[in-house]
């Protein structure tokens, strides 16, 4: 319309000035512009009657997998000389192959197909409108319409295979599993000795102890192994995010959370997830593959954000997690978060903190500089201090340099469980 106004104004001016000055030569100059306007008027689109449909090659993919999107626009009206079809992609999504715009001629009753590939970047993407603008051959008369072609694409986070992560909550559930239950019974690890009861297997009798007490027999007890409640807490506060050179620390946190969820669920535990950031995204605890899918979907839509309420961990809703269960917090962690974690320990939760290291993440990507090195050193000292305080409160900490495999970091920190940790009654 702006183009039309500009051209019309020029024609108008030339004609008026030509007539005012009685200059036929000026009127002549208006002829090419008028012919151009007339040609545009003749070929302008009358009415837009279009429909759109979309086909996404997969509505649920793992991160990294390319997704092919096919968009069809059908012309149910008259011929459209120049039609520009533009798929309005969700933010953060750009085609890696093909284009999401196409200029074509669309005869009546025909369908225009647009195909492009988007990279599988973690997230939950809602495809909505398609903008179609039809114009005359010179673009003076343009009509635009938004067609709805909804579709949803969920790109799940990548999960890494972890070996068993040793946890030891105070309370376990009734079913057999891999978590030591702090109760004697059938199991593998030695738990204690008690007096022989009728029905005890003979090979469990502690002959050495029984020899010292000739009138009684003693039986070895083994620690029962059961499944446990595990609450995963992903720190999605804005301060947990470090974005540098196209990489994001939060993506590593999400990846770690997904891997831990997969591992704990694989061991048969009941796992819940809380994404703590701009708001609370809570996935109720559950078992098995369905729960795995729920957690991965929640992680797919996890984004960092700020909230005045959830700026500190103080408002962590502990009521979400069963009493005395195992909590795993995935967060770079700040000094201000310490009191809440200590309070969780005091309430009987076993707390494990996986700390992706923002200092190493950032300093490795910055040019080597004395000031950067000094700042990194100061921050490392501070992180070491936080770690020391956490350990004093009985909280286990895994410091994870994100360029190393998570499995390596977890097993370097939790691999060898000290004997005193496994001792009955010691709450560590």
């Amino acid at each position: 319309m702006r183009r039309f106004s500009l051209l019309a104004s020029l024609i108008y001016l030339l004609l008026l000035v030509g007539l005012a000055t009685l200059s036929g030569r000026l009127l002549l100059l208006a002829i090419p512009l008028t012919i151009y306007l007339g040609a545009a008027l003749l070929s302008g689109p009358r009415e837009l009657r279009l429909s759109a449909s979309r086909n996404v090659s997969a509505d649920r993919v793992s991160a990294g997998a390319p997704v092919v999107i096919k968009l069809s626009v059908r012309n149910e009206g008259s011929l459209l000389e120049e039609v520009l079809v533009e798929d309005l992609l969700p933010p953060r999504l750009r085609p890696m192959e093909g284009e999401s715009r196409m200029l074509a001629t669309l005869p009546a009753g025909e369908t225009l197909e647009l195909e492009y590939t988007v990279p599988g970047r973690r997230g939950c993407f809602d495809f909505g409108d398609v903008r179609v603008s039809a114009a005359d051959q010179h673009g003076l008369f343009e009509r635009e319409v938004l067609l709805s072609a909804p579709a949803r694409l969920v790109v799940l986070p990548e999960t890494l295979r972890l070996r068993r992560v040793s946890i030891r909550p105070l309370r376990t559930r009734g079913y057999a599993g891999p978590v030591p239950a702090r109760q004697g019974g059938s199991g593998i690890d030695f738990f204690g000795v008690r007096e022989y009861r009728l029905g005890d297997p003979r090979r469990w009798i502690n002959w050495r102890l029984s020899a010292r007490h000739p009138r009684s027999l003693f039986t070895n007890e083994f620690e029962q192994e059961r499944i446990a409640d595990v609450g995963l807490i992903l720190d999605a506060r804005q301060r947990s995010e470090v974005r540098l050179a196209g990489e994001s620390l939060f993506e590593y946190s999400v990846q770690a959370t997904a891997s831990l969820a997969e591992t704990f669920l694989g061991d048969g535990n009941r796992v819940g997830l809380l994404v703590y950031g701009r708001f609370l995204d809570w996935t109720f605890p559950g078992y098995g593959k369905v729960q795995r899918e729920r957690i991965l979907q929640a992680l797919a839509r996890a984004e960092t954000g700020d909230s005045l309420v959830f700026d500190k961990l103080d408002y962590l809703p502990t009521g979400f997690f069963p009493a005395q269960s195992q909590l795993v917090l995935i967060s770079p962690l700040w000094r201000a978060d310490l009191p809440m974690l200590v309070s969780l320990r005091a309430r009987g939760y076993q707390v494990l903190v996986i700390r992706p290291d923002p200092v190493a993440f950032e300093s490795n990507r910055l040019p080597p500089d004395q000031a950067v090195a000094l700042a990194a050193r100061v921050l490392r000292v501070e992180r070491r201090l936080v770690r020391y305080k956490l350990q004093q409160a009985g909280i286990r900490v895994v410091d994870w340099q994100v360029h190393e495999p998570l499995d390596q970091a977890v097993h370097a920190s939790l691999g060898r469980v000290p004997t005193w940790f496994r001792a009955v009654g010691v709450e560590w």
Binding site: M1, R2, R3, F4, S5, L6, L7, A8, L10, I11, Y12, L13, L14, L15, L16, V17, L19, A20, T21, L22, S23, G24, R25, L26, L28, L29, I31, P32, L33, I35, Y36, A39, L41, S43, G44, E82, L84, G98, E99, R101, M102, L103, A104, T105, L112, L114, Y116, A135, Q137, H138, G139, F141, E142, R143
Partner: protein, 165 residues
């Protein structure tokens, strides 16, 4: 193809206008014409949308000024038509930006160029033909015609605004 034709059109429009002014020995106007051309070319290179409109306004203004200064009408006409062509191609280039260069788009591009060639040809030929037809009219008739043009164009603009929404 458009990427090659568009700069050529801009250069031709500036060259034609400059030639008209040079033949009329109005050297002072040449830097202004060159400046318009350079800004337009630079704007196209940097994908500035406004430079095409600026080019058309300046091109039409320079052609009209040239005609009023009694310069060679042929050069002014060629300059104006080339300016119009460049303005049209700039719009097409804008629409083609980020568009998949598929067969469909190439076909549209080719068809657009063919039509533009026809319109530009007609825009050059018709004024030359009209130049041969001469008739005079009095001031009263001129005022009446002016009023008709004013009313007619206003109505046309209003109608087209309604039509295009």
């Amino acid at each position: 193809m458009i990427r090659r034709i568009l700069p050529v059109s801009i250069v031709v429009s500036c060259a034609a206008l400059a030639m008209g002014y040079i033949l009329g020995e109005l050297w002072a106007w040449i830097p202004a014409i060159v400046a318009v051309g350079v800004v337009w070319l630079f704007g196209q290179w940097r994908a500035w949308g406004w430079t095409a409109s600026m080019g058309l306004i300046c091109g039409a203004g320079l052609a009209a000024a040239g005609v009023m200064l009694d310069l060679a009408l042929g050069w002014m006409l060629v300059g104006l038509v080339a300016t119009l062509t460049a303005w049209d191609l700039a719009y097409l280039a804008l629409r083609l930006r980020g568009v998949e260069r598929a067969e469909e788009s190439r076909l549209v591009e080719r068809r657009h160029l063919q039509r533009l060639l026809m319109v530009s040809g007609a825009g050059l030929v018709l004024p030359v033909v009209a130049l041969e037809i001469e008739f005079g009219f009095s001031l009263g008739v001129a005022l009446l015609l002016g009023l008709l043009v004013f009313v007619g164009l206003s109505q046309a603009v209003l109608f087209l605004r309604r039509e295009t929404g």
